[in-house]
């Protein structure tokens, strides 16, 4: 969806991280789903590896 379309349509949000941001959207009646995100086991190093795996998935 282009930026212009985004600006002209209702927001439908997926919230990943601080739950307060999903809660803040509720009074506006914005469609929002909160993701109960957990860091990958193995911490930041795992994240870097996972990001590289994502890249390789792209190239495949």
């Amino acid at each position: 969806m282009s930026v212009q379309s985004l600006l002209e349509q209702p927001l439908r949000v997926i919230n990943v991280g601080l739950e307060v941001f999903a809660q803040a959207l509720e009074p506006d009646g914005v469609s929002v789903i909160h993701v109960d995100w957990q860091p990958p086991a193995g911490g930041e190093q795992a994240a870097a590896i996972l990001a590289r795996l994502d890249d390789e998935g792209d190239l495949a």
Binding site: R12, V13, N15, V35, D36, P39, G43
Partner: protein, 511 residues
């Protein structure tokens, strides 16, 4: 004194949820200090510094939750930890009895909402790229609140977004407005005809709040993050945002809010502004103002709002130092001056507001430092990275700043304290209360030492914010603070309080 801890393995909670948990525990009888932290190396260090590092917690890994309590007695500590366990359990039960299963990944969230169009990401910085890139690859726009994101990650994300014609708002994007909906730390502002492109969350909040006070509204406020106009990032998102607002039918006037761009980027930005098809106000805090009918460059956030409203209404406008110079004179007359020369100390929660204050004070007072240990005048951004690694931002946890405010009351050379207060839906429910209490204590401490402590403040917010602008202002005034209508005016007031001979220049007449 008893220090006790529990550790919950593989039990991640976000930093704000943990902050609220710690707050709840600190309020329990007999509890002196409480910490709820994930077991990252930085957090272990913080526990050690706070005297809370005990054997029970030392093996906690980054994915494990540590709850440490320091209390007057063993019973009080145990009781507090039981309460903590109860709160965690209650939270888990709410999750599990919710109508649908709460998704744990982006992919499962998309199965529940396949027509999602935006992913809001506020995970810790090192994980931001992992989450945001997945969203962009799915064709979703991204609001990226996370800070402490490596520059290389930011460049990769924004290039990926630009290639796909998507927005990547951030990293370090605190606030945005899309179609009248506020994202992140946003104030309640009516939808309207002014569009903003902001490399600053609190900058956007301030401009939006001033526009609301003027009876104008925001069409969209597109955040681009603090580094977008750096040489390395090259203004990728600023360009995309300006193009989007140029084409957006609801947007009549555009306001650009940022610090001065890198030299190469500045030239491109100036060219884009010159050829922009709608009136545009540029607030590049630190760049020299220049007049230009349809594209004025203004000095302050307040001026940006006034100039934009004037352009939308096709009315003339000129900048003023104070909305109400007579009221300022009256306030100054009521100030009991102490002995000798004193300094201005700014303790800020909003980085852009601190920056704006420093820019205004330097021509008036001379050098203004940015570090706590600077001598002379100093304005500190307490939300800066060095203060917030593993700690909640002072906008969320007012106690961090309150302690420093109290300390200012005991610091001999501080004659004027300058502060900001930021409201909004996701902010602290009543930030004026702890700040007012600290201001009250600081002024009393100074007075007991035969000194006068003047406090100048401004509040970023609107009447429709949950905290209520007027109530928050009243609470600060009741504690003895002088609340001015904008950060710029508060800074000028602070300068007048330490250097009365500035009055003719700032107030006109005979001062």
């Amino acid at each position: 004194m008893a220090v006790r801890a529990i550790v919950r393995c593989s039990h991640y909670q976000d930093s704000m949820a943990l902050m609220r948990l710690a707050e709840a525990l600190r309020a329990l009888p007999g509890v002196r200090e409480a910490a709820a932290l994930m077991g990252t190396p930085a957090n272990h260090e913080m526990l050690a510094v706070a005297g809370l590092a005990i054997p029970e917690a030392k093996d906690a890994a980054p994915g494990d939750l540590m709850i440490v309590v320091s209390a007057e007695t063993d019973e009080a500590a145990t009781s507090a930890l039981d309460r903590a366990a109860g709160l965690l359990e209650a939270k888990r039960r709410v999750r599990e009895t919710a109508g649908r299963a709460v998704p744990r990944t982006l992919e499962s969230a998309l199965r529940q909402q396949p027509d999602a169009n935006l992913v809001a990401v506020s995970v810790p910085g090192p994980y931001a790229k992992l989450v945001a890139l997945r969203a962009l690859r799915r064709g979703l726009h991204v609001f990226l609140f996370s800070d402490n994101v490596p520059l290389a990650d930011e460049i990769e994300l924004k290039q990926a977004a630009a290639r796909r014609g998507l927005l990547c708002m951030g990293p370090d994007c605190g606030t945005a407005y899309l179609g009248g909906v506020g994202l992140g730390f946003a104030n309640e502002v009516a939808p309207g005809r002014i569009g903003c492109v902001a490399a600053s969350g609190t900058g956007l909040q301030a401009v939006a709040s001033h526009l609301a006070a003027l009876g104008e509204g925001i069409s969209h406020g597109i955040g681009v993050g603090g580094r977008d106009l750096s040489a390395e990032v090259g203004g990728i998102m600023t360009t995309a945002a300006l193009e989007a607002l140029a084409a957006n039918p609801r947007t009549e006037v555009v306001v650009l809010i940022s610090k001065p761009p890198a030299p190469g980027v500045m030239a491109e930005l100036e060219a884009a502004i010159r050829t922009f098809p709608k009136p545009v106000v540029v607030c590049c805090l630190g760049a020299a103002p220049r007049g230009d009918g349809r594209a004025p460059w203004v000095r302050t956030l307040e001026d940006a709002a006034h100039a934009a409203a004037a352009l939308a209404r096709r009315q003339p406008w000129t900048a003023r130092a104070f909305t109400d110079p007579a009221a300022v004179r009256t306030r100054l007359e009521s100030i009991r001056r102490g002995r000798g020369e004193t300094r201005v100390l700014g303790l800020y929660t909003g980085g852009t507001l601190a920056w704006e204050a420093r820019l205004l004070l330097e021509p008036l007072l001379g050098t203004v430092g940015a570090r706590l240990d600077d001598r002379g005048h100093r304005v500190i951004d307490l939300g800066g990275d060095e203060f917030t690694i593993g700690r909640p931002h002072p906008m969320l946890d007012p106690e961090a700043r309150a302690a420093r405010v109290r300390q200012a009351g005991r610091t001999r050379d501080v004659g004027v304290l300058l502060v900001d207060l930021v409201l909004g839906r996701a902010a602290h429910p009543d930030p004026a209360r702890p700040l007012a209490a600290a201001i009250h204590d600081a002024r009393r401490a100074a007075e007991a030492d035969g000194r006068a402590l003047v406090v100048a403040a401004s509040v970023v917010g609107t009447e429709r914010d949950p905290q209520g602008l007027a109530r928050q202002v009243t609470a600060l005034e009741a504690a003895g603070a002088h609340v001015l209508p904008s950060n710029a005016q508060a800074a000028r007031f602070a300068a007048l309080a330490v250097k009365p001979d500035l009055a003719p220049a700032l107030l006109g007449g005979t001062g």
